[in-house]
Structure formats: C-alpha cells, structure tokens
C-alpha cells in the first residue's frame, strides 16, 4: 500500500500493466519524454523505453486510428487525449470504427484500446479545457465509458479497462487529480492523502466495470453521480441535512442498473448530478431509466442538477459548476415535493 493522488494512481495502473503485459503501450501528445501535461505518464518512457511510451503528432483522429490498428494487431494501446474537449477529431474513429469492429466483423477483430482523457471543469480552463462529453459516448453502442472518483478506483478501473477486450473511454475528472474537490471552491482543497481511498496497492488489482459503489448509504433520496460530482454530492448531503444515498456509478456503460433500482425503490426519490450540460446528457438516460423502472415507487420526479446548457464560460466557472449548494437545494426540494 502507498498513498497516492489520482495522477499517481493512474500512473501506477499503467506502470503495473506495462510491467505485466508487453502488449501494453502508451502514447499520445506529450506523454513520452515529458510525461504528459498532467504528468500521468511521468517516468513511463524512462522505465519501459520509448517504444512502450511515446509522443504522437497532434492528431487525435490519428492517435485513435493508429491505436485501433495496433489493437487489431494484438497490442493493448492506452492512449491519452490531452483534454476531453479535443476528442472530437477522433469521433469518427471511435464511433464508426472502435465501437463497431467487433460486431461488424462477427468477432473476427476486436479493439482492446483505452482512451484516457481528462474531463470537467474547475481549473479555469474555459470552454475548451472543461467539457464533459461522456453523454455522447454513452449513445455510441460498442463503447464502454468509465469514470473514477478516487485514486483507488482510478487504478483498479484503469487496469480493468486495459484488460478489457473492448474499447473503453476512460474519463478522468481532472479537478480530482490532486485532491477530493467537493465543489467548495472558496475553501482550501484537502489533499488526497487525508482521504481513505488514497490508500492504493502498488501491485495489480482490479475494480470491475459495471459495478456502482454506494459511497454514502441513506434513506431519503438517491443521488446518482460520477467523477467530481460524487464528492460534491457528499458535501451537499452534509450541507442539506437530507439523508441522501450517494451512488458513484463508476462506469456509465456498462451501467449498474440493479444498484440504482434497489436504492431508488428504497428512497423513492432520485437526483442525478453531472457537470455536463443538461439537455441529452447522461442524466437524461438515468432519469428515463429510473422513472421507467421505479415508477410506482417514485414520490417525486427525478431531478437533474447539471451544468447549464451553455459552453463552459471562463470567468463564470463557479456559476456554471453545479456545486454543493445547488445540489443541496435540489435535495431539500425533492423532499418537499
């Protein structure tokens, strides 16, 4: 066991897998000698050689396209897209190719790649360093979508993703890289070291895809969230005084519908919290599922607390970010409804 922040845990996951499996290779913009703009691949080139961890041209479509070919060859490429906002040039390769190759070839070929990318706001990155595009990928059949919220999960989920024989979009809440940020931007952020989930085994372990985690059991209302918003939801539960059950989905595809249903059937209320814009975000799918599966148990409508339907505005970061105050208000409101 060691104490790791999320970056270190991700680094450890890649290092662990590179040591275990020679077919694991890591590449992307600035990930080689430099170790990535967020330092997630720091030291990997030195440890495993430039052939296992290297820089690429600035061409996200090329990075993913090459990874697909390499995956078809038999490698397990783990590629980094520097910011999730820059994944769109790779959208065609992800959607038309990575997601479809197993199916369209009737299993002849598969694409065991992981696309790691930092997402979300909170670093004053403006419109193009803050986006949360996870909802788009959940609509693409054939892609898995994974989002950790702690160092422990980050390593275990990344290892499961690397070992997965299908393409995984692995979204990293960049605001959580160095500490369990709960949305209270006006107070000093605690480092990961004070959080129990920063205890991370140095060796191999897995956290399975498709299993949600109940991070705070409660009776009154179910909060569905992932990534940064898990910590915001916890803070909101405290702030609101509502006995919320906070669920960290951990992977959106596959989705742990059982855990969700069991919780909502118990609480009778549900709030989805995400940072992405509201319309057609993954919150829509969750709300649609919950109202369908738990209709007769629901005492109030499923609410969504999300980013507004605008581009992430640079100077209004905290007016955009769905912080604990907004989530707490929604909790209280749900209880009154």
């Amino acid at each position: 066991m060691a104490t790791m922040n999320m970056i270190q845990a991700l680094n450890s996951a890649m290092s662990t897998m590179m040591a275990r499996d020679p077919s694991v290779v890591v590449f992307g913009e600035d990930v080689g000698y430099f170790g990535g703009v967020f330092r997630a691949t720091d030291g990997l080139q030195k440890k495993y050689g430039a052939h296992r961890c290297f820089d690429t041209p600035i061409a996200e479509g090329g990075i993913v396209g090459a990874a697909i070919g390499m995956g078809a060859y038999g490698m397990r490429p783990v590629v980094e897209i520097q910011f999730a906002d820059y994944i769109y040039p790779a959208f065609d390769q992800l959607t038309s190719e990575a997601a479809r190759i197993r199916y369209r070839s009737a299993g002849d070929f598969n694409v065991p790649i992981v696309v790691r990318t930092p997402y979300g706001g909170g670093i004053f990155g403006g419109q193009t360093h803050s986006q949360s595009p996870e909802g788009l990928f959940t609509h693409v059949v054939g892609l898995k979508v994974v989002i950790p919220s702690t160092p422990y999960d980050a390593k275990g989920l990344l290892i499961s993703s690397i070992e997965d024989d299908d393409p995984v979009i692995f979204l990293e809440p960049k605001r959580l890289y160095t500490g369990p940020f709960d949305g209270r931007h006006d107070v000093a952020v605690k480092p990961w070291s004070v959080h129990p989930a920063s205890e991370v085994p140095e060796d191999y372990y897995r956290v399975p895809l498709g299993k949600a985690s109940i991070v705070r059991p409660g009776e009154d209302v179910t909060i569905l969230s992932y990534g940064t918003m898990v910590h915001v939801a916890l803070a909101a539960a405290q702030e609101s005084g509502v006995d919320a059950e906070v669920i960290d989905l951990r992977s959106l595809i596959p989705l742990d519908l059982e855990t969700i249903m069991a919780s909502v059937n118990k609480t009778g209320r549900c709030i989805v919290v995400h940072e992405a814009t509201k319309t057609s975000g993954f919150g829509a799918e969750l709300a649609a599922l919950v109202q369908r599966e738990c209709f007769y148990q629901l005492e109030s409508p499923v609410e969504r607390v999300t980013g507004w339907d605008i581009p992430y505005p640079h100077a209004f970061e905290w007016q955009y970010f769905p912080g604990p105050t907004r989530v707490a208000a929604a909790m209280r409101q749900a209880m009154e409804a």
């Binding site: 041209p57 061409a59 070919g69 390499m70 390769q93 070839s105 002849d108």
Partner: protein, 425 residues
C-alpha cells in the same frame, strides 16, 4: 511623440488596392455526357521509361517518380525497362486466373443484384490488376486493409467464394451473420481486415497495425487501399504523417480510378498534382504506377514491400486506373461521364494486357484463355447455385435474428438480453 498608436495603425492598414475581383475555380472534368472523351491531360510515361531507384534511396531523391508513370508492358505485351519484374509464368497465370475470377464473380453478383437477390453490389471491373497483382506481391501473412472495391485481394488469397456469396446474399453461409452489407468482407484467417463503410478510416489503422508489428519485432507488414476521392479525408493525412514519423512498415495505396461516384479526380485535387505527389511533403517515397499493367503493379508493390521489410518505412503508391463500370448498383455513370470513356481508356484492360503478355511470352494462347474463361465461369456459376440454395437476400435464410443481439461487446450486454426478450427472439 515619435509613434502614436494611431499613426502605427495607419502605417499598417494599407488602403485596399484596386484589385480585380477575385474568382473561384470550380474544377470540371475534360468531358461530360454527350461530349467526346478527352484524355489530353493525362500524365503518362512511355513503357520502360521510368527509372527504378535503389530500395534504400532517399525519398528526397525520388520526387520525379511521383510525376512519372511506371509501366512495364509495351504495346506488344513485352515487359520492358528496369521495373520488369522477375516473375514466374505460373504466378502470372495464377494472377490472370484470379483477375478473371474476380471479374466473373463481379458480373454475376451484379446481375444477382439486378434480379433482387442481394441488396447492393460493387464491381471492381477494370481495376482487377490492382488487387490481384498486389496480393501476389505481398506475403499471405501481411495484413490487408482494403476498401469495398478490394474483393480481388480476398479472391487472390483464396478466400472461399461461397462465403463471399453467402455475405452478398446475406444467407445462412454469411460468415458475418447478416450484419454487414455485401462487399464489406472480413477475414482474420486471410489477414483481411474488416471493411468499413466509412471511407478512409482503414488507412491510419493500417499504419497502426504496422506500428504494432514493428514494435513487436515481427516481420509482417501492412498494406492499405483507398480511392482517389478518399485522399481528401483526414485519415489519409493521419496515415501519411504517422507512417512518416515512425517509419512504419506499411504500403499506402491510392487507387486512382479517375472517379469518386460522380466526381472526377480533379475534385479531390488530382489536376493540381498527381496523388502520388502527396507523399513528397511527408518525406515518403512515392511510386505512380499504371494500375492496368499487372507487371508494373507487381514490381512496384514488391519494391515497396521490400523497402518496408528492410526498415526503410512506408511507400505511397498511386495506382492509375479507370473505374470501368458504375460506382455501385446504386449508380448510373451515364449521367455524369461520356459512355465510352472507359472503353477508350488509353491504358487498356488489365486482363487483356496480361493475356497479351503471356501469349507474347509463349506461355499462353487464345484457346487456353477461352477454356480458362469457361472454367472460372463454370466455377462461379456452380458456386452461385450452391449459394442461392442457401437463401438470398430478403427471404430470411440468414442467421437467426437473435444473433443480432450478440457480439456488440465480448461479454453479453444485460441491456441487450432484455431487448432481445422484448423483441421476442
């Protein structure tokens, strides 16, 4: 004060000169329906005229080849010049047969589509040498990333025609379980990558595959094919960039058949520079080859393959040919090009030209040719009967519809188990 901001601005903001109005050039082909064909703008070289650089030649010293046209067969069917390959008659005859097989297969599947037995078909008529000669020049373990018009590769690799027909007819023999359109084949066994309906995506994938092979210290190389029109996609650029940067062992082929559905190659930029010349800017070597000349295609591909195998990296090959038939069964070329353009194509027909060469070589005759033609026709006809007995498109003789819920992921997807139940399968 010496320089006020106001003054600077004036110094910089030059008054617009009274220029003539700008105009935009919209490229047009040399001839449209009703007009006489016009090949005056084609860049051709004489057979045997183009030099053959050393396998390790610097790309910088090879720019001229992007503007020439490698041709081996002369008007009389003799192999001439430095590119004339050492190739056995057996290989040539096998190649001839595979081209003929491809053409017959195409014709019969085309007619099956017209009879409503399959939903769609794409012929490669006139371009058979591209696929068949290149397959002959590569090793069977090399990985091929083709296009929907690459059936000749698969046929040359001995993929069972019955399976191809199964897919064309979407019947019980379809190895892809009815999931793909006709012509979008896949065969891991034959190192033939699953064809995408999305143009161009395979080009960078082939580079990635080659990178994987090189990273693994393997000896296998990759090759990929796209059309002239598709060179405009981003994946083309990614492929050339990555292949250049990492010196990947891959052959990148542009099949310039002059047309992209209704758009002539000038709409992709082919009038401004040959597609082969695109390689120059990436520091990659380029070969521009008569795609209807089996020997030239074979020789150029061998050169590129050997170059890749000896760690000199990628080559871009432009295969200069002509799409002799419609784009697909959904297309009617008489609406946009002269009807006789194909027949008058100055570089002839690949099958006729190889036949002529084999006869000139003393290894072939009109008789043998006729009997081979009969043989392959019979082979395809018989297989077609067998295939049709297992069902044709639309008559529900395909795999069980419940299979359509399988194989999105490796593990069963709980959503799809539910949806399958809902569907009643």
């Amino acid at each position: 004060m010496l320089h006020s901001t106001r003054l600077d601005r004036q110094a910089v903001a030059l008054r617009p000169a009274r220029n003539a109005p700008l105009t935009l050039r919209i490229p047009e082909p040399a001839a449209r329906p009703g007009e006489p064909v016009n090949f005056s703008k084609l860049r051709l070289s004489a057979p045997g005229a183009v030099r053959r650089p050393a396998l390790d030649a610097e790309p910088r010293a090879m720019h001229d080849l992007a503007y020439e046209l490698i041709r081996v067969l002369d008007e009389n069917g003799h192999a001439v010049g430095p590119w004339a390959p050492e190739i056995s008659s057996a290989t040539l005859i096998a190649g001839l047969r595979n081209m003929m097989l491809t053409r017959v297969f195409d014709e019969r599947m085309y007619r099956a589509q017209r009879q409503g037995k399959c939903s769609f078909y794409v012929r490669s008529t006139g371009e058979e040498a591209v696929a068949v000669a290149q397959a002959a020049a590569l090793e069977s373990t090399d990985m091929l990333f083709g296009s929907y018009r690459s059936q000749g590769l698969l046929i040359a690799r001995g993929y069972p025609l019955l399976k191809m027909m199964g897919q064309v007819y979407s019947n019980a023999l379809d190895p892809l379980l009815g999931r793909q359109m006709p012509v979008m084949y896949s065969s891991r066994e034959h190192n033939y990558f699953t064809i995408s309906g999305n143009l161009g995506t395979q080009f960078i994938q082939a580079v990635g595959w080659a990178m994987g092979s090189a990273l693994s210290g393997d000896t296998r190389i990759a090759a990929s094919w796209i059309g002239d029109g598709t060179t405009a996609e981003g994946d083309f650029h990614y492929a050339l960039t990555f292949a250049s940067v990492y010196r990947a062992p891959v052959i990148l082929n542009v099949v310039n058949n002059q047309w992209a559905i209704s758009s002539f190659q000038g709409i992709a930029g082919g009038d401004e520079a040959p597609f082969a010349a695109r390689a120059v800017g990436y520091g990659l070597p380029a070969l521009r080859v008569d795609g209807n000349d089996f020997l030239a295609v074979y020789a150029a591909t061998k050169w590129a393959a050997q170059r890749a195998r000896s760690n000199h990296g990628a080559t871009l090959i432009e295969l200069f040919t002509y799409r002799a038939e419609a784009h697909s069964t959904s297309d009617d070329p008489s609406r946009y090009r002269p009807a006789d353009e194909g027949a008058k194509w100055p570089l002839g027909d690949p099958i006729a030209r190889l036949k002529q060469h084999l006869i000139a070589r003393g290894e072939w005759s009109e008789q043998k040719h006729a009997s081979l033609q009969e043989e392959v026709t019979a082979e395809v006809r018989n297989l077609q009967k067998e295939a049709e007995a297992r069902g044709v498109h639309g008559n529900n003789h395909t795999a069980s519809p419940k299979t359509m819920f399988e194989g999105v992921f490796k593990e069963p997807d709980p959503r799809l188990l539910k949806q399958r139940q809902e569907a009643g399968f």
